[in-house]
Symmetry: C2
Subunit: 142 residues, 2 copies
DNA sequence: TTTTGACTTAAAGGTGACTTTAACTTGTAT
DNA sequence: ATACAAGTTAAAGTCACCTTTAAGTCAAAA
């Protein structure tokens, strides 16, 4: 199965210009061209693009994704550094999750605060600190 | 306790230029000035800045944080929309966590793949699909 | 009082990731 | 054969978020 840039973009849910930009930036060295110069995407290219998408979701920059793709194109001799990079990204994603969970807890406290303020028509906490599940690093209740 | 822009920046772990930029963008309407025009940060301003930091961590844009701050400056009459916004951000953060957890699972599979490839010096999966904990939305093993 | 370091502003510069534009080409459908 | 949608490129534009620069001011210490 073969695809034009527009078809592949649709399949991925991105703009065609995004794929052209990635190609220009050297992220798509695997994509071939027709005799007339038109990009021809294969199913295996879709899988490459899924890898790019996965790395992007980890917050990796395009230039680093490019390096990864270049390594992968080299073949099995680059398995070690690629593995190292995957492990590094795993740790990064774990840290991002931990930070978002902390942020979530802060938001939950703020929600509780606003809901209490609404009910009582007064700021909460008039000597009831010990009753609340409030956060140790307590912040201004805005 | 009072702070200059440099001291507050240090306390927050950001560049002084960042605080000046936020002020310029209208995110810090609460910060007062000395007679000579120097910004004077109070402890309560630190707490405002923590709120800004929290919202930034949810991925909110500066212009939306500005709206939130402006509402909070209005007082209790804006509690309802502020609560709604907090709840919305909570959902957004939950979705971000879910996506990162999915990404993490993909990375874990890739790590397993590379480690197996290293051991066997051959790509994994030669009829052993059913033995693996591999992902249903299987991707090219790059 | 003078020095010195940190402050002030407006304006320009930088970065990352695209998107848009303009002029042109390709390739399929009638 | 011709039209036409969708492809091509280089270059410029956009957006969010800062950072840097330049020229000048403030205020605490020597």
């Amino acid at each position: 199965m073969l695809y034009t840039v527009g078809e592949m973009a649709k399949k991925l849910g991105v703009a065609p210009s995004t794929l052209r930009y990635y190609d220009q930036e050297g992220l798509l060295p695997f994509v071939e061209r027709s005799s007339g110069g038109i990009r021809v995407f294969k199913d295996s290219d879709y899988e490459w693009l899924q890898v790019i998408g996965c790395l992007k979701k980890t917050g990796m920059q395009l230039k680093d994704i490019k390096s990864f793709i270049e390594m992968a194109m080299q073949g099995d001799e680059t398995i070690e550094p690629r593995l190292a990079l995957i492990v590094k990204q795993k740790e990064s994603v774990k840290a991002q999750i931990a930070e978002l969970e902390e942020t979530l807890r802060t938001l939950e406290f703020k929600q509780w605060y606003y809901e209490t303020a609404k009910k009582t028509a007064l700021p909460p906490f008039r000597g009831i600190w010990h009753l609340t599940n409030c956060r140790s690093n307590f912040e201004k209740c805005v």
